[in-house]
Symmetry: C2
Subunit: 79 residues, 2 copies
């Protein structure tokens, strides 16, 4: 997501459009990106650290964006 101090014109446009479309009560909208990475093998601390590096160096523009790394179970994952 864009850092809070960075202007987000896309999010603002969505936020201003919502009352016109009948949705009140949304005071702020911010738009960002998400990446879903499928990892071979176990997602242990070492893999997570690598993915954090990868996100920091290639996926996010850390000058203007914050990012978080989250682990999710795959839907329909084989047990």
């Amino acid at each position: 997501m864009l850092k809070p101090e960075i202007l987000d014109p896309q999010g603002q446009a969505v936020q201003r459009a919502l009352p016109r479309l009948g949705f009140e009560g949304v005071s702020d909208v911010r738009q960002g990106k998400r990446f879903e990475l499928e990892v071979d093998g176990p997602v242990d601390d070492a893999a997570l650290a690598r993915i954090h590096d990868l996100a920091e160096s290639f996926l996010a523009n850390t000058v203007i964006e914050d990012f978080t790394v989250k682990v999710e179970e795959m839907v329909g994952e084989e047990k």
Copy 2:
């Protein structure tokens, strides 16, 4: 996120670039959007249902995209 059956060239480009950049073991990358909405008042079931409608009708293109709605605590929220 794009539905699994929809091709994601951006994600594929990222996935193919990773080994060159020294990151092995990522078998799939998919890129999508996220929106952070700040809601006035309590996020109860009614508010969530409204936001689900809003996401379905305006934020996501449900022909090609899946979406999920998640509630997150605001960082620095007043208790």
